[in-house]
Symmetry: C2
Subunit: 274 residues, 2 copies
Amino acid sequence: MLINGTPTQVIEAADRGLQYGDGLFETLAVVEGQPCLWKPHMNRLRSGCERMGIECPDESLLLRESLAEIDAEQHGILKIIVTRGAGQRGYRPPVPSKPNRILDCTPWPAHLDTRSDPGVEVRLCSLRLGRNPVLAGMKTLNRIEQVLARSEWSDDRIAEGLMFDTEGYLIEGTASNLFLFLRGRLVTPDLTNCGIAGIMRGLVMEQAEKLGIPLSIQNLRLADLKAADGLFLTNSLIGIRPVAKVGDWTYGLECMDTGLVKEVVSRGFGDEVH
Amino acid sequence: MLINGTPTQVIEAADRGLQYGDGLFETLAVVEGQPCLWKPHMNRLRSGCERMGIECPDESLLLRESLAEIDAEQHGILKIIVTRGAGQRGYRPPVPSKPNRILDCTPWPAHLDTRSDPGVEVRLCSLRLGRNPVLAGMKTLNRIEQVLARSEWSDDRIAEGLMFDTEGYLIEGTASNLFLFLRGRLVTPDLTNCGIAGIMRGLVMEQAEKLGIPLSIQNLRLADLKAADGLFLTNSLIGIRPVAKVGDWTYGLECMDTGLVKEVVSRGFGDEVH
Protein backbone atom coordinates (compact mmCIF):
# COMPACT_ATOMS: atom_id res chain seq x y z
CA MET A 1 0.00 0.00 0.00
CA LEU A 2 1.18 3.52 -0.81
CA ILE A 3 -0.24 6.47 1.09
CA ASN A 4 0.74 9.83 -0.41
CA GLY A 5 3.60 8.03 -2.08
CA THR A 6 4.97 6.39 1.06
CA PRO A 7 4.81 2.61 1.63
CA THR A 8 2.70 2.12 4.75
CA GLN A 9 -0.39 0.26 5.97
CA VAL A 10 -1.64 2.95 8.34
CA ILE A 11 -3.30 6.34 8.13
CA GLU A 12 -4.20 9.06 10.64
CA ALA A 13 -7.48 8.14 12.32
CA ALA A 14 -8.37 11.85 12.03
CA ASP A 15 -8.70 11.38 8.26
CA ARG A 16 -12.17 12.47 7.19
CA GLY A 17 -12.43 9.37 5.04
CA LEU A 18 -12.74 7.43 8.27
CA GLN A 19 -14.61 10.06 10.28
CA TYR A 20 -17.34 10.74 7.69
CA GLY A 21 -16.67 8.65 4.59
CA ASP A 22 -15.58 11.98 3.11
CA GLY A 23 -13.88 10.73 -0.04
CA LEU A 24 -14.09 8.73 -3.23
CA PHE A 25 -12.54 5.62 -4.71
CA GLU A 26 -11.82 3.81 -7.95
CA THR A 27 -11.21 0.11 -8.49
CA LEU A 28 -9.17 -0.81 -11.57
CA ALA A 29 -8.22 -4.11 -13.10
CA VAL A 30 -4.47 -4.58 -13.53
CA VAL A 31 -3.52 -6.65 -16.57
CA GLU A 32 0.05 -7.29 -17.63
CA GLY A 33 1.19 -4.85 -15.01
CA GLN A 34 -0.92 -1.98 -16.35
CA PRO A 35 -3.99 -0.30 -14.83
CA CYS A 36 -6.90 -0.74 -17.24
CA LEU A 37 -9.32 1.95 -18.37
CA TRP A 38 -7.15 4.51 -16.67
CA LYS A 39 -8.58 7.57 -18.44
CA PRO A 40 -12.27 6.96 -17.72
CA HIS A 41 -11.47 6.06 -14.10
CA MET A 42 -9.55 9.30 -13.71
CA ASN A 43 -12.35 11.26 -15.36
CA ARG A 44 -14.89 9.85 -12.91
CA LEU A 45 -12.58 10.50 -9.95
CA ARG A 46 -12.03 14.09 -11.05
CA SER A 47 -15.74 14.65 -11.60
CA GLY A 48 -16.55 13.19 -8.16
CA CYS A 49 -13.92 15.37 -6.51
CA GLU A 50 -15.42 18.43 -8.20
CA ARG A 51 -18.91 17.57 -7.00
CA MET A 52 -17.63 16.99 -3.46
CA GLY A 53 -15.37 20.04 -3.42
CA ILE A 54 -12.24 17.94 -2.92
CA GLU A 55 -9.08 18.97 -4.71
CA CYS A 56 -8.32 16.02 -6.99
CA PRO A 57 -4.70 14.84 -6.92
CA ASP A 58 -2.80 15.37 -10.13
CA GLU A 59 -3.43 12.55 -12.61
CA SER A 60 0.21 12.14 -13.55
CA LEU A 61 1.13 11.82 -9.87
CA LEU A 62 -1.57 9.18 -9.38
CA LEU A 63 -0.32 7.29 -12.43
CA ARG A 64 3.28 7.37 -11.23
CA GLU A 65 2.26 6.14 -7.78
CA SER A 66 -0.08 3.53 -9.27
CA LEU A 67 2.72 2.02 -11.34
CA ALA A 68 4.98 2.01 -8.28
CA GLU A 69 2.27 0.31 -6.20
CA ILE A 70 1.46 -2.21 -8.93
CA ASP A 71 5.19 -3.03 -9.03
CA ALA A 72 5.58 -6.62 -10.14
CA GLU A 73 1.88 -7.50 -9.86
CA GLN A 74 0.99 -8.70 -13.35
CA HIS A 75 -2.65 -9.44 -12.74
CA GLY A 76 -4.43 -7.75 -9.90
CA ILE A 77 -6.79 -5.11 -8.59
CA LEU A 78 -5.73 -1.54 -7.93
CA LYS A 79 -7.86 0.47 -5.54
CA ILE A 80 -7.32 4.22 -5.41
CA ILE A 81 -8.93 6.14 -2.54
CA VAL A 82 -8.89 9.93 -2.33
CA THR A 83 -10.10 11.46 0.94
CA ARG A 84 -10.50 15.09 1.96
CA GLY A 85 -7.67 14.49 4.44
CA ALA A 86 -7.57 15.28 8.12
CA GLY A 87 -9.42 18.19 9.63
CA GLN A 88 -10.50 19.72 12.89
CA ARG A 89 -13.57 18.32 14.68
CA GLY A 90 -16.93 18.68 12.94
CA TYR A 91 -18.48 18.26 9.52
CA ARG A 92 -17.22 21.58 8.18
CA PRO A 93 -14.57 20.85 5.57
CA PRO A 94 -11.18 22.45 6.23
CA VAL A 95 -10.23 25.15 3.71
CA PRO A 96 -7.80 24.51 2.21
CA SER A 97 -7.88 20.75 2.67
CA LYS A 98 -4.97 18.36 2.22
CA PRO A 99 -6.44 15.33 0.42
CA ASN A 100 -4.89 11.94 1.11
CA ARG A 101 -4.34 9.33 -1.62
CA ILE A 102 -4.32 5.67 -0.71
CA LEU A 103 -3.26 3.17 -3.36
CA ASP A 104 -3.47 -0.55 -2.81
CA CYS A 105 -2.78 -3.28 -5.34
CA THR A 106 -3.83 -6.83 -4.49
CA PRO A 107 -3.50 -10.07 -6.48
CA TRP A 108 -6.35 -11.06 -8.77
CA PRO A 109 -8.78 -13.26 -6.80
CA ALA A 110 -9.55 -16.62 -8.38
CA HIS A 111 -13.33 -16.23 -7.99
CA LEU A 112 -13.33 -13.38 -10.52
CA ASP A 113 -12.05 -15.64 -13.30
CA THR A 114 -15.39 -16.47 -14.78
CA ARG A 115 -14.94 -15.79 -18.44
CA SER A 116 -15.68 -19.44 -19.11
CA ASP A 117 -18.76 -19.27 -16.88
CA PRO A 118 -21.81 -19.61 -19.11
CA GLY A 119 -23.93 -17.44 -16.80
CA VAL A 120 -24.04 -16.63 -13.12
CA GLU A 121 -26.80 -16.90 -10.56
CA VAL A 122 -27.89 -13.72 -8.80
CA ARG A 123 -30.49 -12.84 -6.19
CA LEU A 124 -32.70 -9.91 -5.29
CA CYS A 125 -31.60 -7.94 -2.23
CA SER A 126 -34.22 -6.79 0.22
CA LEU A 127 -32.24 -3.71 1.24
CA ARG A 128 -33.33 -0.69 -0.80
CA LEU A 129 -31.10 2.14 -1.96
CA GLY A 130 -31.90 5.64 -0.73
CA ARG A 131 -32.36 8.27 -3.45
CA ASN A 132 -30.31 11.43 -3.53
CA PRO A 133 -29.41 13.03 -6.88
CA VAL A 134 -26.63 15.01 -5.18
CA LEU A 135 -24.71 11.78 -4.51
CA ALA A 136 -25.99 9.64 -7.39
CA GLY A 137 -23.44 8.31 -9.83
CA MET A 138 -20.42 8.93 -7.59
CA LYS A 139 -18.29 6.19 -6.06
CA THR A 140 -18.03 7.77 -2.62
CA LEU A 141 -16.78 6.15 0.58
CA ASN A 142 -20.37 6.11 1.94
CA ARG A 143 -21.14 2.49 1.11
CA ILE A 144 -23.10 1.10 4.05
CA GLU A 145 -26.06 0.25 1.81
CA GLN A 146 -23.84 -1.99 -0.32
CA VAL A 147 -22.26 -3.56 2.77
CA LEU A 148 -25.65 -4.40 4.28
CA ALA A 149 -27.01 -5.67 0.96
CA ARG A 150 -23.94 -7.86 0.46
CA SER A 151 -24.36 -9.29 3.95
CA GLU A 152 -27.78 -10.67 3.00
CA TRP A 153 -26.28 -13.85 1.54
CA SER A 154 -23.27 -16.05 2.13
CA ASP A 155 -23.89 -18.78 -0.46
CA ASP A 156 -20.88 -18.58 -2.78
CA ARG A 157 -22.94 -19.87 -5.70
CA ILE A 158 -24.74 -16.52 -5.73
CA ALA A 159 -22.47 -14.17 -7.67
CA GLU A 160 -24.32 -10.91 -7.04
CA GLY A 161 -27.39 -9.30 -5.50
CA LEU A 162 -29.61 -6.91 -7.46
CA MET A 163 -30.81 -3.78 -5.67
CA PHE A 164 -33.92 -1.66 -6.01
CA ASP A 165 -34.30 1.86 -4.67
CA THR A 166 -36.82 2.93 -2.04
CA GLU A 167 -39.33 3.71 -4.81
CA GLY A 168 -39.04 0.20 -6.21
CA TYR A 169 -36.88 0.97 -9.24
CA LEU A 170 -34.26 -1.57 -10.23
CA ILE A 171 -30.86 0.15 -10.00
CA GLU A 172 -27.77 -2.09 -9.96
CA GLY A 173 -25.93 -4.95 -8.32
CA THR A 174 -24.11 -4.42 -5.03
CA ALA A 175 -20.85 -4.09 -6.96
CA SER A 176 -21.91 -3.99 -10.60
CA ASN A 177 -24.20 -2.31 -13.08
CA LEU A 178 -26.94 -4.06 -14.97
CA PHE A 179 -28.09 -4.30 -18.59
CA LEU A 180 -31.23 -6.04 -19.85
CA PHE A 181 -32.23 -7.16 -23.31
CA LEU A 182 -35.83 -6.00 -23.27
CA ARG A 183 -38.29 -5.90 -26.16
CA GLY A 184 -35.52 -5.72 -28.75
CA ARG A 185 -33.50 -3.05 -27.00
CA LEU A 186 -30.55 -2.99 -24.67
CA VAL A 187 -31.63 -1.13 -21.52
CA THR A 188 -29.86 -0.07 -18.35
CA PRO A 189 -31.34 1.62 -15.27
CA ASP A 190 -31.46 5.39 -14.99
CA LEU A 191 -29.02 6.49 -12.26
CA THR A 192 -30.31 10.01 -11.73
CA ASN A 193 -31.35 9.32 -8.16
CA CYS A 194 -28.97 6.63 -6.95
CA GLY A 195 -26.44 4.05 -8.04
CA ILE A 196 -22.86 4.26 -9.21
CA ALA A 197 -22.16 5.15 -12.82
CA GLY A 198 -19.74 2.32 -13.57
CA ILE A 199 -16.83 2.70 -15.97
CA MET A 200 -17.64 -0.58 -17.73
CA ARG A 201 -21.29 0.53 -17.97
CA GLY A 202 -20.09 3.64 -19.76
CA LEU A 203 -17.91 1.59 -22.08
CA VAL A 204 -20.79 -0.75 -22.97
CA MET A 205 -23.04 2.23 -23.70
CA GLU A 206 -20.36 3.79 -25.88
CA GLN A 207 -19.85 0.56 -27.80
CA ALA A 208 -23.59 0.06 -28.26
CA GLU A 209 -23.81 3.48 -29.83
CA LYS A 210 -20.85 2.79 -32.12
CA LEU A 211 -22.41 -0.49 -33.23
CA GLY A 212 -25.86 1.04 -33.78
CA ILE A 213 -27.48 -1.14 -31.11
CA PRO A 214 -30.63 0.52 -29.75
CA LEU A 215 -29.98 1.46 -26.14
CA SER A 216 -32.25 3.06 -23.53
CA ILE A 217 -31.49 4.46 -20.11
CA GLN A 218 -34.75 4.20 -18.25
CA ASN A 219 -36.63 3.49 -15.06
CA LEU A 220 -36.99 -0.25 -14.66
CA ARG A 221 -39.04 -2.34 -12.26
CA LEU A 222 -39.23 -5.94 -11.17
CA ALA A 223 -41.68 -6.70 -14.00
CA ASP A 224 -39.08 -5.55 -16.54
CA LEU A 225 -36.52 -7.85 -15.01
CA LYS A 226 -38.97 -10.72 -15.34
CA ALA A 227 -39.81 -9.77 -18.92
CA ALA A 228 -36.17 -9.49 -20.02
CA ASP A 229 -34.87 -11.86 -22.68
CA GLY A 230 -31.46 -11.81 -21.06
CA LEU A 231 -29.28 -9.72 -18.81
CA PHE A 232 -25.71 -9.11 -17.90
CA LEU A 233 -23.71 -7.41 -15.18
CA THR A 234 -20.77 -5.11 -15.73
CA ASN A 235 -17.92 -3.73 -13.71
CA SER A 236 -14.27 -2.89 -14.26
CA LEU A 237 -13.09 -6.24 -12.89
CA ILE A 238 -15.51 -8.73 -14.41
CA GLY A 239 -16.12 -6.83 -17.64
CA ILE A 240 -19.40 -8.32 -18.90
CA ARG A 241 -20.88 -11.21 -16.96
CA PRO A 242 -24.04 -12.90 -18.34
CA VAL A 243 -26.74 -13.84 -15.83
CA ALA A 244 -28.39 -17.25 -16.11
CA LYS A 245 -30.63 -17.07 -13.07
CA VAL A 246 -32.26 -14.44 -10.85
CA GLY A 247 -33.73 -16.37 -7.95
CA ASP A 248 -36.08 -18.86 -9.62
CA TRP A 249 -36.21 -17.08 -12.97
CA THR A 250 -33.93 -18.42 -15.67
CA TYR A 251 -32.61 -16.48 -18.62
CA GLY A 252 -31.37 -17.57 -22.00
CA LEU A 253 -27.81 -16.71 -22.89
CA GLU A 254 -28.38 -16.39 -26.65
CA CYS A 255 -28.58 -12.61 -26.29
CA MET A 256 -24.96 -12.62 -25.22
CA ASP A 257 -24.13 -13.72 -28.73
CA THR A 258 -24.56 -10.19 -30.04
CA GLY A 259 -21.97 -8.05 -31.74
CA LEU A 260 -21.96 -5.76 -28.73
CA VAL A 261 -21.05 -8.32 -26.16
CA LYS A 262 -18.54 -10.01 -28.43
CA GLU A 263 -16.98 -6.65 -29.17
CA VAL A 264 -16.62 -5.58 -25.56
CA VAL A 265 -15.44 -8.99 -24.43
CA SER A 266 -12.96 -9.35 -27.28
CA ARG A 267 -11.48 -5.94 -26.54
CA GLY A 268 -10.78 -7.18 -23.08
CA PHE A 269 -9.17 -4.54 -20.99
CA GLY A 270 -5.84 -4.04 -22.64
CA ASP A 271 -6.79 -1.40 -25.24
CA GLU A 272 -7.90 1.28 -22.87
CA VAL A 273 -4.80 1.50 -20.75
CA HIS A 274 -3.56 5.07 -20.34
CA MET B 1 -6.38 9.12 20.99
CA LEU B 2 -6.82 5.51 22.07
CA ILE B 3 -7.34 2.81 19.46
CA ASN B 4 -8.32 -0.55 20.95
CA GLY B 5 -6.84 0.67 24.21
CA THR B 6 -3.49 1.72 22.77
CA PRO B 7 -2.39 5.36 22.55
CA THR B 8 -1.87 6.06 18.85
CA GLN B 9 -2.97 8.46 16.12
CA VAL B 10 -3.03 5.94 13.29
CA ILE B 11 -5.17 3.05 12.12
CA GLU B 12 -4.88 0.41 9.40
CA ALA B 13 -6.05 1.91 6.12
CA ALA B 14 -7.73 -1.46 5.48
CA ASP B 15 -10.25 -0.61 8.20
CA ARG B 16 -13.75 -0.79 6.75
CA GLY B 17 -14.59 2.46 8.52
CA LEU B 18 -12.34 4.15 5.98
CA GLN B 19 -13.07 1.86 3.04
CA TYR B 20 -16.88 2.04 3.27
CA GLY B 21 -17.86 4.17 6.25
CA ASP B 22 -18.73 0.82 7.80
CA GLY B 23 -19.18 1.87 11.41
CA LEU B 24 -20.88 4.15 13.91
CA PHE B 25 -19.94 6.91 16.29
CA GLU B 26 -21.04 8.78 19.39
CA THR B 27 -20.07 12.28 20.50
CA LEU B 28 -20.30 12.96 24.24
CA ALA B 29 -19.81 16.07 26.31
CA VAL B 30 -17.18 15.69 29.03
CA VAL B 31 -17.92 17.72 32.15
CA GLU B 32 -15.78 17.62 35.28
CA GLY B 33 -13.83 14.78 33.77
CA GLN B 34 -16.90 12.59 33.23
CA PRO B 35 -18.61 11.54 29.97
CA CYS B 36 -22.20 12.83 30.04
CA LEU B 37 -25.33 10.86 29.17
CA TRP B 38 -23.22 7.73 28.99
CA LYS B 39 -26.09 5.24 29.21
CA PRO B 40 -28.24 6.62 26.39
CA HIS B 41 -25.16 7.02 24.17
CA MET B 42 -24.23 3.40 24.81
CA ASN B 43 -27.80 2.27 24.14
CA ARG B 44 -27.81 4.02 20.78
CA LEU B 45 -24.38 2.63 19.89
CA ARG B 46 -25.50 -0.89 20.79
CA SER B 47 -28.72 -0.54 18.84
CA GLY B 48 -26.83 0.78 15.80
CA CYS B 49 -24.33 -2.08 15.99
CA GLU B 50 -27.20 -4.57 16.10
CA ARG B 51 -28.85 -3.03 13.06
CA MET B 52 -25.53 -3.04 11.18
CA GLY B 53 -24.52 -6.53 12.30
CA ILE B 54 -21.39 -5.25 14.05
CA GLU B 55 -20.41 -6.83 17.34
CA CYS B 56 -20.62 -3.96 19.84
CA PRO B 57 -17.62 -3.64 22.16
CA ASP B 58 -18.34 -4.32 25.80
CA GLU B 59 -19.73 -1.25 27.55
CA SER B 60 -17.52 -1.57 30.60
CA LEU B 61 -14.46 -1.80 28.36
CA LEU B 62 -15.55 1.34 26.50
CA LEU B 63 -16.10 3.15 29.80
CA ARG B 64 -12.69 2.14 31.12
CA GLU B 65 -11.02 3.29 27.93
CA SER B 66 -13.09 6.48 27.83
CA LEU B 67 -11.96 7.47 31.31
CA ALA B 68 -8.35 6.72 30.37
CA GLU B 69 -8.67 8.80 27.21
CA ILE B 70 -10.42 11.66 29.03
CA ASP B 71 -7.51 11.62 31.50
CA ALA B 72 -7.11 15.10 32.92
CA GLU B 73 -9.48 16.78 30.46
CA GLN B 74 -12.08 18.42 32.69
CA HIS B 75 -14.23 19.92 29.98
CA GLY B 76 -14.13 18.46 26.52
CA ILE B 77 -15.65 16.34 23.80
CA LEU B 78 -15.27 12.58 23.65
CA LYS B 79 -15.80 10.92 20.29
CA ILE B 80 -16.18 7.15 20.22
CA ILE B 81 -16.01 5.42 16.84
CA VAL B 82 -16.71 1.71 16.38
CA THR B 83 -15.91 0.24 12.96
CA ARG B 84 -16.39 -3.27 11.64
CA GLY B 85 -12.60 -3.54 11.54
CA ALA B 86 -10.39 -4.65 8.68
CA GLY B 87 -11.48 -7.17 6.12
CA GLN B 88 -10.60 -8.67 2.80
CA ARG B 89 -11.42 -6.79 -0.39
CA GLY B 90 -15.08 -6.21 -1.20
CA TYR B 91 -18.31 -5.15 0.51
CA ARG B 92 -18.99 -8.55 2.06
CA PRO B 93 -18.48 -8.23 5.81
CA PRO B 94 -15.90 -10.61 7.30
CA VAL B 95 -17.40 -13.23 9.62
CA PRO B 96 -16.39 -13.05 12.37
CA SER B 97 -15.31 -9.42 12.26
CA LYS B 98 -12.89 -7.72 14.63
CA PRO B 99 -14.40 -4.30 15.34
CA ASN B 100 -12.04 -1.42 16.07
CA ARG B 101 -12.75 1.19 18.75
CA ILE B 102 -11.33 4.67 18.35
CA LEU B 103 -11.64 7.07 21.29
CA ASP B 104 -10.61 10.69 21.04
CA CYS B 105 -11.07 13.37 23.67
CA THR B 106 -10.47 17.00 22.65
CA PRO B 107 -10.75 20.22 24.66
CA TRP B 108 -14.09 22.02 24.71
CA PRO B 109 -14.13 24.54 21.85
CA ALA B 110 -14.96 28.11 22.88
CA HIS B 111 -17.59 28.55 20.15
CA LEU B 112 -19.82 25.99 21.87
CA ASP B 113 -20.10 28.11 25.02
CA THR B 114 -23.33 29.81 24.13
CA ARG B 115 -25.47 29.31 27.19
CA SER B 116 -25.60 33.07 27.54
CA ASP B 117 -26.53 33.42 23.87
CA PRO B 118 -30.13 34.63 23.69
CA GLY B 119 -30.75 32.88 20.40
CA VAL B 120 -28.72 31.80 17.42
CA GLU B 121 -29.08 32.49 13.73
CA VAL B 122 -29.50 29.51 11.40
CA ARG B 123 -29.99 29.05 7.67
CA LEU B 124 -31.74 26.64 5.33
CA CYS B 125 -29.46 24.23 3.51
CA SER B 126 -30.11 23.53 -0.13
CA LEU B 127 -28.70 19.99 0.07
CA ARG B 128 -31.49 17.47 0.69
CA LEU B 129 -31.20 14.32 2.77
CA GLY B 130 -31.83 11.01 1.01
CA ARG B 131 -34.48 8.79 2.61
CA ASN B 132 -33.73 5.27 3.72
CA PRO B 133 -35.53 3.78 6.73
CA VAL B 134 -32.85 1.08 7.01
CA LEU B 135 -30.26 3.72 7.96
CA ALA B 136 -32.54 6.32 9.55
CA GLY B 137 -31.87 7.24 13.17
CA MET B 138 -28.36 5.76 13.27
CA LYS B 139 -25.19 7.80 13.65
CA THR B 140 -23.20 5.94 11.03
CA LEU B 141 -19.89 6.96 9.49
CA ASN B 142 -21.69 7.70 6.19
CA ARG B 143 -21.98 11.45 6.63
CA ILE B 144 -21.25 13.01 3.25
CA GLU B 145 -24.67 14.70 3.18
CA GLN B 146 -23.83 16.54 6.41
CA VAL B 147 -20.37 17.45 5.15
CA LEU B 148 -21.75 18.91 1.91
CA ALA B 149 -24.55 20.73 3.74
CA ARG B 150 -22.08 22.19 6.24
CA SER B 151 -19.88 23.38 3.39
CA GLU B 152 -22.71 25.59 2.09
CA TRP B 153 -21.77 28.45 4.42
CA SER B 154 -18.66 29.84 6.06
CA ASP B 155 -20.13 32.83 7.90
CA ASP B 156 -19.39 32.14 11.56
CA ARG B 157 -22.46 34.10 12.64
CA ILE B 158 -24.59 31.26 11.25
CA ALA B 159 -24.68 28.62 13.97
CA GLU B 160 -26.38 25.83 12.05
CA GLY B 161 -28.07 24.85 8.79
CA LEU B 162 -31.49 23.19 8.69
CA MET B 163 -31.97 20.30 6.32
CA PHE B 164 -34.98 18.98 4.43
CA ASP B 165 -35.22 15.55 2.87
CA THR B 166 -35.69 14.87 -0.84
CA GLU B 167 -39.49 14.92 -0.34
CA GLY B 168 -39.33 18.37 1.22
CA TYR B 169 -39.81 17.37 4.85
CA LEU B 170 -37.90 19.33 7.48
CA ILE B 171 -35.63 16.86 9.30
CA GLU B 172 -32.80 18.31 11.39
CA GLY B 173 -29.74 20.53 11.52
CA THR B 174 -26.44 19.33 10.08
CA ALA B 175 -25.30 18.41 13.61
CA SER B 176 -28.42 18.86 15.74
CA ASN B 177 -32.07 17.96 16.08
CA LEU B 178 -34.88 20.44 15.95
CA PHE B 179 -37.98 21.23 18.05
CA LEU B 180 -40.69 23.74 17.20
CA PHE B 181 -43.36 25.34 19.34
CA LEU B 182 -46.26 25.03 16.94
CA ARG B 183 -49.93 25.71 17.62
CA GLY B 184 -49.54 25.13 21.33
CA ARG B 185 -47.55 21.93 21.02
CA LEU B 186 -43.92 21.00 21.09
CA VAL B 187 -43.15 19.19 17.82
CA THR B 188 -40.08 17.50 16.39
CA PRO B 189 -39.63 15.96 12.95
CA ASP B 190 -40.40 12.32 12.33
CA LEU B 191 -37.11 10.46 11.68
CA THR B 192 -38.56 7.29 10.16
CA ASN B 193 -36.93 7.92 6.80
CA CYS B 194 -33.80 9.89 7.60
CA GLY B 195 -32.00 11.89 10.23
CA ILE B 196 -30.13 10.97 13.37
CA ALA B 197 -32.07 10.24 16.54
CA GLY B 198 -30.10 12.49 18.89
CA ILE B 199 -29.55 11.65 22.54
CA MET B 200 -30.51 15.17 23.65
CA ARG B 201 -33.62 14.93 21.45
CA GLY B 202 -34.56 11.77 23.32
CA LEU B 203 -33.95 13.46 26.66
CA VAL B 204 -36.11 16.46 25.74
CA MET B 205 -38.92 14.14 24.63
CA GLU B 206 -38.65 12.18 27.85
CA GLN B 207 -38.75 15.35 29.95
CA ALA B 208 -41.70 16.73 28.00
CA GLU B 209 -43.64 13.57 28.76
CA LYS B 210 -42.74 13.75 32.46
CA LEU B 211 -43.86 17.37 32.62
CA GLY B 212 -47.08 16.72 30.72
CA ILE B 213 -46.11 19.00 27.84
CA PRO B 214 -47.98 18.00 24.68
CA LEU B 215 -45.43 16.67 22.20
CA SER B 216 -45.84 15.43 18.64
CA ILE B 217 -43.44 13.63 16.36
CA GLN B 218 -44.65 14.47 12.89
CA ASN B 219 -43.86 15.33 9.30
CA LEU B 220 -43.02 19.02 9.06
CA ARG B 221 -42.56 21.31 6.11
CA LEU B 222 -41.19 24.76 5.44
CA ALA B 223 -44.62 26.29 6.16
CA ASP B 224 -44.55 24.79 9.67
CA LEU B 225 -41.16 26.31 10.29
CA LYS B 226 -42.54 29.68 9.23
CA ALA B 227 -45.63 29.25 11.40
CA ALA B 228 -43.68 28.23 14.52
CA ASP B 229 -43.86 30.45 17.60
CA GLY B 230 -40.32 29.47 18.48
CA LEU B 231 -37.76 26.78 17.92
CA PHE B 232 -34.65 25.28 19.43
CA LEU B 233 -31.86 22.96 18.42
CA THR B 234 -30.54 20.10 20.51
CA ASN B 235 -27.47 17.95 20.63
CA SER B 236 -25.29 16.35 23.27
CA LEU B 237 -22.81 19.20 23.25
CA ILE B 238 -25.00 22.30 23.12
CA GLY B 239 -27.90 20.85 25.07
CA ILE B 240 -30.79 23.15 24.09
CA ARG B 241 -30.03 26.15 21.91
CA PRO B 242 -32.83 28.62 21.13
CA VAL B 243 -33.06 29.93 17.58
CA ALA B 244 -33.68 33.65 17.03
CA LYS B 245 -33.45 33.73 13.25
CA VAL B 246 -33.88 31.38 10.30
CA GLY B 247 -32.72 33.36 7.30
CA ASP B 248 -34.94 36.45 7.32
CA TRP B 249 -37.53 35.03 9.68
CA THR B 250 -37.24 36.02 13.32
CA TYR B 251 -38.57 34.07 16.27
CA GLY B 252 -39.52 35.11 19.75
CA LEU B 253 -37.62 33.53 22.60
CA GLU B 254 -40.49 33.65 25.15
CA CYS B 255 -41.27 30.00 24.41
CA MET B 256 -37.90 29.10 25.87
CA ASP B 257 -39.24 30.21 29.18
CA THR B 258 -41.19 27.00 29.62
CA GLY B 259 -40.83 24.46 32.38
CA LEU B 260 -39.46 22.01 29.87
CA VAL B 261 -36.58 24.09 28.65
CA LYS B 262 -35.76 25.32 32.14
CA GLU B 263 -35.82 21.76 33.41
CA VAL B 264 -33.54 20.36 30.74
CA VAL B 265 -31.18 23.30 30.91
CA SER B 266 -31.05 23.30 34.71
CA ARG B 267 -30.24 19.62 34.79
CA GLY B 268 -27.24 20.40 32.69
CA PHE B 269 -25.34 17.30 31.79
CA GLY B 270 -24.05 16.13 35.11
CA ASP B 271 -27.00 14.03 36.27
CA GLU B 272 -26.95 11.49 33.54
CA VAL B 273 -23.37 10.41 33.84
CA HIS B 274 -23.00 6.62 34.00
